[in-house]
């Protein structure tokens, strides 16, 4: 199989790579780029641990091929930053509210929430609940996750 010449932007940096066309996006991110913050929880699109932003939308990287990244812009958890270059608003509220326990779901939850708040800055609690049904978290009971997202929304809109 001929390798594919992939051009894209990852966390703000332009990237050119030859990759096998059979490479999954998740493997590309974790193995080829070494960005380990994106997690594999199921490999089947059911848990949301592998979410990344592709042109600003949250996608399950385990279900996509790396070639689908061509000409697009990818942001992973490592690329999320606050305005001051420090922690992102959602990272802060997740920490403050106690929404992080084992943390394996956290990058995916933050990515999903970021995509929602970009799309819908005034998302209601119900919107947030609906959006996050694709993100499994076995530790927190979700209460603090939801309050963290609400707090980030309020901070952003304040």
């Amino acid at each position: 199989m001929r390798p594919f010449a992939l051009k894209c932007k990852v966390n703000g940096l332009a990237i050119e790579r030859e990759i096998p066309s059979s490479r999954s996006l998740l493997d590309f991110i974790r193995e080829d780029l070494g960005l380990k913050g994106t997690k594999e929880g199921c490999g089947e699109g059911e848990c949301g641990a592998c979410l990344v932003l592709l042109d600003g939308k949250a996608v399950n990287s385990c279900l996509m091929m790396a070639v689908q990244l061509h000409g697009k812009e990818l942001v992973t958890i490592e690329g999320l930053k606050g305005r001051d270059g420090g922690l992102h608003a959602l990272q802060k509220t997740f920490m403050e509210e106690g929404a992080v326990q084992c943390g394996f779901c956290t990058p995916g939850l933050i990515i999903a929430s970021e995509a929602l708040l970009r799309r819908k800055p005034d998302a209601t609690l119900e919107d947030i609940k609906q959006e996050l049904t694709g993100n499994l978290c076995r530790c927190t009971g979700y209460e603090k996750v939801l309050s963290a997202v609400e707090k980030a929304r309020d901070n952003r809109n304040a």
């Binding site: 960005l35 380990k36 089947e44 490592e78 084992c102 943390g103 956290t106 609906q130 076995r138």
Partner: protein, 759 residues
């Protein structure tokens, strides 16, 4: 009351930032130069005789390196758990579908998986057993010992038959519960790295690094001092990373030993479902007797757990279930007999609650039935019978002062508006609303059956710059141990909290501290830290005092120490400066600590003894809506109250409570692992459903802190108790809402619907 600077406060979680930024390194995130990858070859059938294993086809996969079978085991082919019946790799017989039979090593994980799928196992099928009750029948196929009984216990107290004869009211019921899959978001995984001189370092996601140490040393046949286990950031455990990580790590280590290269073995979700431990399915027949005043006089229990193909932790899971089988009540006459039966299915083991949730579902459902017969409201009935300080449990243990159960029940009763709601369930259209209750006790720590393991060590090291490093033998798995233990260390030393770091477990730094289970970490490691820190504290405090005196402080009012500062007579010095002075004075600033749990006993003949050092307690009320047309239940709100002793970090405790409640609710309503003819049918998140944000109920959580004198800053144990009582509270609420008494978990819509049809 002692004034505390750090304990009792919602201080920021130590590991939150590395997790929120994606920087935390879980097992799968660790890479090493020259690293290879392993994948397991698994048995396809419930029970097989292995005739041959061939890698002829697998060899053709580019990147293939080698096949590892039992022949590569240089040590003993027996995984040391409780009883040694589980081989690291089977030699002749594989006993459940999904059991690892061999491993393939290759350049990449993709190649290893591809090659593993091409390894051919030639086998002959053997007759198997897949039902625990049938396994115990006389004519059953023998798959374990002489009678398929892995383990069995009794508790006998008083004159049970006579009490039943004289009873004014009796109830009896048969209940069952299905598996629960841990569904930790991070699957199992290990990376084994060979060291010069024949050693092995293993990076493993685990709750129990010392179980991993036992196993790797046994499998490789090398002494403990050549093996080092480094716990990686662990993405959830809930009991699922108690025993089995040792098996996964040993497999990685066998591959690394054979190839001489680092080997990573990370489980896919499907194989994790198929082969890793589970909550045991449970079956129970329970009966209670009460006198005409509504006092419980007797309880009889037969309780069976489906242990699966190997014993693993079944004996101790069963034992905990046995001790708690009658519920948190004063009962003079008790007859309990329990069995863990072997079947050709995945070995079941530890899961938050550890054998209690299954039997608690049965007995707390039945307590409601008994209350109804006695003509009493379920809460009033419980209050008449609850264990109070000074009472004896069914094992004859007299409870000491740290027992707040009746206060918990009262708190939940008033906060939930119980009296009114329970008396008047509502029906609006097709939706019936009801409320249900449960009460729970939980023995903290390993208790009499695990007493030889119930000790823990700690190393406290105060560096020259005033920062503090702490090593412990119990693991952070998401519950917040690193944070809570740092608070305890900071409190004891009067060191600034921000400067205290508790590390993930390194088996070479602290002695074997037993497993991170049984809600024992705060208690055991906390006490070990206090023991280690206390002599350092004395040196620091003495030095601070002399420094302050040197500064001209008037000592008459005495010295105070708070928040990392020492003050006296209007002068103060910071911890950092005091530590620098301690080092100048060449004082010893590192210490080891050790804590062994108080003595516990259990007499096998009749199950009498002081089973646990102390108990935690909970009361739960669940409010549900049942759709009368479909039988679908939705939990609207859960009120819970806990007595887990002093709360070290309220925000973390709340997180443990909410997470535990949702896990309990998810098991109660949705989680349904299906086996058909010895094969798991739904090993994935598509068909095995767990609760999501959409299912989350409202939580109302109260802590009533009954101090435990032996505990670190009077704490007991928190992790498990929130899960245990949820299922019966939900089942009792369904009954209250619509009259349907469902006796098997999960409480699926079709079961509710069927009961409704019976009318």
């Amino acid at each position: 009351m002692e004034k505390l600077s750090y304990v009792g406060k919602s201080l920021p979680r130590k590991d939150a930032e590395i997790k929120a930024t994606g920087a935390a390194q879980y097992a799968a995130d660790r890479d090493f130069a020259g690293m290879l990858h392993a994948a397991a070859v698994r048995s396809p059938r419930p029970r097989i005789k292995i005739l041959s294993i061939s890698d002829a086809k697998a060899r053709k996969v580019p990147g293939y390196v080698t096949l590892v079978t039992y022949r590569d085991i240089k040590g003993v082919n027996k995984w040391p758990v409780v009883m040694q019946d589980y081989p690291f790799l089977p030699e002749r017989e594989a006993r459940f579908a999904g059991e690892t039979v061999a491993l393939v090593v290759a350049d990449t994980a993709r190649a290893a998986r591809k090659a593993a799928a091409l390894v051919e196992i030639k086998y002959r099928e053997l007759p198997y057993v897949d039902d625990p009750l049938k396994a115990l029948e006389k004519g059953a196929v023998k798959i374990y010992g002489r009678d398929n009984v892995i383990s069995s216990f009794v508790i006998k107290r008083g004159a049970v038959d006579e009490a039943f004869r004289k009873a004014a009211f009796t109830v009896e019921g048969e209940f069952s519960t299905n598996y629960q899959v841990h569904a930790y978001l991070e699957t199992q995984g290990s990376v084994a790295v060979p060291e010069a001189g024949g050693g092995m370092t293993v990076h493993s996601t685990t709750q129990c690094p010392f179980y991993v140490l036992d196993a790797v040393s046994a499998a490789l046949g090398i002494p403990y001092h050549k093996v080092k286990i480094l716990q990686t950031v662990t993405g959830g455990g809930f009991g699922g990373k108690e025993d089995v990580p040792a098996l996964v790590a040993s497999h990685a280590a066998l591959c690394a030993a054979k190839t001489g290269r680092p080997v990573k073995l990370i489980y896919g979700r499907k194989e994790d479902f198929q082969s890793m431990s589970k909550r045991h399915p449970g079956w129970a027949r329970v009966s209670y007797a009460a006198d005409k005043n509504g006092k419980i006089t007797a309880c009889r229990v037969k309780y069976v757990l489906d242990g699966g193909a190997y014993s693993t932790l079944s004996p101790i899971v069963l034992w905990r279930g046995t001790v708690h089988a009658a519920g948190p009540y004063k009962i003079p006459n008790v007859g309990i007999e329990t069995f863990a039966a072997a079947t050709n299915k995945v070995p079941a083991g530890a899961f938050r609650g550890f054998g209690q949730p299954q039997i608690c579902f049965a007995q707390e459902s039945l307590i409601d039935e008994l209350a109804e017969k006695a003509g009493l409201d379920p809460v009033r009935f419980r209050l008449k019978n609850l264990l109070e300080p000074g009472d004896r449990t069914v094992t004859g243990q007299r409870l000491k002062s740290s027992c707040g159960l009746s206060e918990l029940v009262q708190a939940v009763r008033s906060r939930s508006g119980w009296d009114k709601k329970a008396a008047t369930p509502q029906v609006r259209g097709d939706i019936a609303t009801g409320i249900g209750f449960s009460a729970v006790y939980y023995g903290v720590g390993l208790g009499a059956k695990g007493r030889y393991l119930d000790r823990a060590g700690a190393l406290v090291n105060v560096y020259k710059d005033g920062s503090v490093g702490v090593n412990v033998g119990n693991a952070e798995m998401g519950q917040g141990a690193l944070t809570v233990l740092a608070q305890i260390a900071a409190e004891t030393l009067n060191a600034p909290y921000a400067g205290v770091r508790v590390e993930e477990v390194d088996s070479s730094k602290v002695p074997d501290s037993g497993p991170t289970v049984a809600s024992r970490t705060t208690l055991m490691s906390g006490n070990a830290i206090i023991e280690a820190a206390t002599p350092i504290r004395e040196r620091v405090f003495k030095t601070a005092h002399s420094m302050l005196t040197g500064l001209g402080a008037d000592p008459s009012g005495g010295m105070t120490a708070a928040g990392g500062v020492f003050s006296m007579g209007g002068r103060s010095v910071a911890f950092k400066a005091v530590v620098a002075e301690c080092w100048n004075r060449r004082l010893k600033m590192a210490e080891q600590g050790w804590y062994a749990a108080p003595r516990t006993t259990f007499r096998l003949r009749d199950g009498q003894g002081d089973a646990y050092g102390v108990y935690s307690y909970s009361a739960d009320a669940a409010e549900v809506e049942v759709d009368l047309k479909t039988g679908v239940t939705r939990v609207k709100k859960i009120w819970a109250a806990y007595d887990v002793g002093k709360i070290v970090n309220p925000r973390l405790a709340l997180g443990q409570a909410q997470g535990g409640i949702l896990q309990g609710m998810s098991w109660a309503l949705y989680e349904n692992l299906v086996y058909k003819n010895g094969i798991m049918v739904n090993p994935n998140f598509t068909d095995y459903v767990i609760a999501t944000t959409a299912d989350k109920p409202e939580y109302d959580i109260t802590f009533i802190e009954k101090p435990y004198a032996e505990g670190p800053y009077r704490a007991k144990g928190m992790g498990e108790v929130p899960l245990i009582g949820v299922a019966p509270a939900v089942a009792n609420a369904i009954k209250n809402a619509c009259g349907a008494r469902v006796k098997s978990v999960p409480l699926l819509p079709e079961k509710v619907w069927k009961e409704l049809k019976k009318g």
